[in-house]
């Protein structure tokens, strides 16, 4: 047995945020030159633990050793000095700068001038060594998400990191890109870099990592050697008491019952082009789609290819520049959101906290959102709060929202519970069409299963469901068909018998 060289050890680390024990006496260690998976559901404490190692938070209790030496990491500056680099889930690059300028930013060098030649050479060498190619002189804002991740990895290495923390690096990558990234990571490991790979997907851990540690609810469940372990071992660690059947990608297994589709589509997009509401959004380009009652039409695509615009053009068809939007046989171009909703349509937006709820409002007030002008909840502009309260109580019961009562502020609920309220609200009325965008993002397994089941129930009732999601594994679980959106166009629609991760993935990146 070779004695393993510990580059990093965290002992009994605890961290508390208000009432929440985010980490409870966690032990964690890294061997030199390994890829170490850190597995756990959202909210398990993975990012908190890593943020402590990176100096963004300080631990309440516990000790951290780097190469056997006790250290105190008070800020990212400390951790960079210790050779720790972290790549966050969302980009921390300056969009207006080129890749090269981003890489130089904050490093020492000639302070009086921006002489980039030497740095450029050095960086090109890294790029070659690790197979991480990206243009150095293009502004970062013009680059796709996958490349940004590469820039951030090179930036960390360039600054001398030999312990690299990757926080959910695969969120916006398709299978092909993931495999390429993995190759690069293995090359780095061969050069002596140690990597922490944070993810909630068991499959990625098995594919990518040498060892894996599992965190649940702030408690370290254990560390296992992934070469010897099976998927079941990891599942066992992750969901000890769960009774959920899950796939290899750690997604609940759902059966789609046979349902008769409506003969006419509920919603028809005929050659729709539309302007994005956002400054740097993608315009929709001649999209044609039909969604029938009793089917779930999945929309796959890399984030930022027009998904949001597609959802919004349906619930707010005001920016259409070309084409016809037809709901149940009637053209609805230019109709107000209120009117669209009143035609048995509802929407579950992508960004829960930003778009779904009024966080400082309580559950009752949130249940009313979007229904506030319906006759059953108001009379002559006066809200019938007793009716709304009753509805809120119903939703809490029926959708098992964990809350003391309906007066709790919605923003204080967990993601899964917020989503239960949002779905409950969407289902107050019978629906012909539900548009939903990444409704499962960041939810724990039980909540994901809950969302899936509701979508399938709607499908059984004959509702048309437009299900937009960046996660292909999830889409393939519950969709009847999958359309791929790329740069504002639907490039292909796959039937259930043609579902294939690689084929769909290659369409997603414009192949």
């Amino acid at each position: 047995m070779v004695k393993e060289n510990k580059v990093l050890e965290a002992k009994n680390v605890s961290k508390r945020f208000g009432e929440v024990q985010a980490l409870d006496k966690v032990n964690f260690d890294l061997n030199e030159g390994e890829i170490h998976g850190l597995l756990g559901e959202n909210g398990a404490g993975k990012t908190t633990l890593m943020n402590i190692l990176y100096g963004l938070f300080t631990e309440d209790e516990g000790e951290i050793y780097i190469r056997g030496e006790r250290v105190k990491i008070n800020s990212p500056l400390d951790s960079i000095k210790l050779g720790i680099g972290m790549i966050h889930q969302s980009s921390t690059l300056v969009p207006e700068f080129t890749a090269l300028e981003n890489l130089i930013l904050g490093t020492d060098g000639n302070k009086m001038s921006l002489e980039l030649k030497d740095a450029e050479k050095e960086i090109e060498q890294f790029q070659k060594d690790f197979g991480l190619k990206f243009p150095l002189h293009t502004k970062v804002k013009d680059l796709p998400a996958g490349l940004k991740k590469k820039i951030e990895i090179i930036r960390a290495i360039y600054r001398g990191a030999n312990i690299l923390i990757l926080d959910e690096p695969t969120t916006s990558l398709v299978q092909e890109e993931f495999e390429k990234l993995l190759e690069s990571l293995k090359k780095m490991v061969a050069e002596g870099v140690t990597i922490v790979f944070i993810t909630h997907k068991i499959k990625e851990v098995i594919q990518a990592c040498d060892r894996a540690s599992v965190l649940t609810g702030g408690i370290m469940q254990g560390t296992i050697d992934t070469k010897k372990a099976t998927k079941e071992d990891l599942v066992q660690l992750m969901f000890q008491d769960a009774e959920i059947n899950i796939t290899e990608s750690a997604i609940p297994i759902i059966n789609l019952p046979d349902v008769e589709k409506t003969s006419e589509p509920i919603l028809k997009l005929q050659n729709i082009s539309a302007q994005s509401k956002e400054k740097d959004g993608i315009n929709l380009d001649s999209i044609s789609l039909k969604i029938y009652g009793g089917e779930i039409l999945g929309i796959a695509g890399i984030s930022g290819n027009g998904q949001k615009e597609l959802a919004e053009v349906i619930i707010d068809p005001n920016n259409i520049t070309k084409g016809k939007l037809i709901l149940k046989g009637k053209k609805i171009n230019g109709m107000s959101t209120n009117k669209v909703f009143s035609r048995k349509v509802s929407y579950i937006p992508e960004d829960r906290k930003k778009e779904s709820i009024i966080g400082l409002g309580n559950i009752t007030e949130n249940v009313l959102l979007g229904h506030q002008r319906e006759p059953r909840f108001q009379k002559k502009g006066i809200i019938k709060w007793d009716k709304v309260t009753r509805e809120a109580k119903n939703i809490i019961n029926e959708f098992q929202v964990k809350t003391p009562n309906e007066k709790k502020k919605a923003g204080k609920l967990s993601g899964g519970n917020i989503q239960r309220v949002v779905i409950g609200r969407a289902l107050i009325n019978e629906l012909d069409l539900l548009v939903t965008h990444s409704p499962t993002a960041g939810l724990d397994m039980a909540s994901v299963e809950f969302v899936f089941k509701r979508l399938v129930e709607l499908r059984s009732k004959g509702t048309a469901v437009l299900y937009i999601n960046e996660d292909l594994d999830e889409l393939m679980q519950v969709s009847d068909r999958i359309g791929v959106i790329h740069e504002g166009k639907i490039v292909e629609i796959f039937g259930q018998d043609q579902f294939d991760k690689y084929k769909i993935g290659s369409k997603m990146i414009g192949g």
């Binding site: 919004e312 619930i315 107000s336 959101t337 209120n338 669209v340 909703f341 929407y347 937006p349 960004d351 930003k354 778009e355 779904s356 709820i357 009024i358 966080g359 400082l360 409002g361 007030e365 009313l368 959102l369 979007g370 506030q372 002008r373 108001q378 502009g381 006066i382 809200i383 709060w385």
Partner: protein, 358 residues
Amino acid sequence: MVGQEVSLKQTTKLQKIWVGSKPYILALLIAFGITGAIIGLLGYNVLKAYQTLLFTSFTSQRGIIETLKKFIPLTLTTYAFAIPFKIRFFNIGGWGQMLFGGTITAIVGIALAGFNLPAIIFIPILILVAMAAGGVFALIAGFLKAYYNINPIISTIMLNFIAIYFVNFIATTEPWKAPRTGHPMSLKLPEAARLPELFGQIHFGIVIVALVIIAVYYLINKTVLGYEIIATGINPDAASVYGIKMRRTLMLTFLIGGALGGLAGGIEVMGVHQRLIEGFALTSGAQYGIFGILTALICQGNPLGVPLSSIFISILLVGADAMQRTLQVPVELVFLSQAIIVLFIVVLRRRAGGSFIQ
């Protein structure tokens, strides 16, 4: 067991009240401390100054009446700021809206003088005119924000200037101006256009303000519009995704806020001066509209907090006037303490983890 639980609950409730009021109490103590130090350094009697400042309103009937007279317009200009503030826009124009409302009231009142309308018709007409004038004046800023994305801070400040010169123009020009006066002022309103006095002491404006307080509370808490205003203020993204019309809501808040600012002007003209007079919107030498901003910030625009913080500021203003009269302490020192109070309340509330808006 049960008893214990109850007492536990009470403690937490008391604690909650303490946590909620702590920033206010601290801010008051700090502000009065600093102001007291300055008053002392300037050689005045600090104790006497405080006594005058805080208790003048309560020591005589006149004090009470004076306080209420300030309370009436101040509450209205506070709402003028507080209502657009609910959707996070700053109406700095409560002042201009008050001036404009008052001026249009005077113009219409003088114009209708020949019709011999009874008070029961004349007064309601003028109240509506005042509200419409202030509302439309503020709506300009709301419209510019909604359709051209022009910051209401800028547009309302600019509109203030227009209103100031409009007052001067009307008060110094035929056929409105009063003959043979040194100070710019208009003709008197006809008898039937003046607000009656209750118990021969305080004009009818106090009743109007009481009704406004109830109406605003009702609007914010019970109506669909109020709900939409609050929802938009807390999360404009979610509000617009779920079909609340941003532009409409925005313009309505300015319309309502402006209407109340205009009403303040109308009431001052009809109830206090019985004519348009340059400076009718001033109190202790500063604009009611400016105090309205301070007063609204103290209570964060809470509909029921508005009258409370408004009465508090009114007491200070009456005290400040008295302090200047009897002790020659400059009234500006009280403005200083008010500014410090607002600053510290905002800072301490932030530190206590409370949000600025809600």
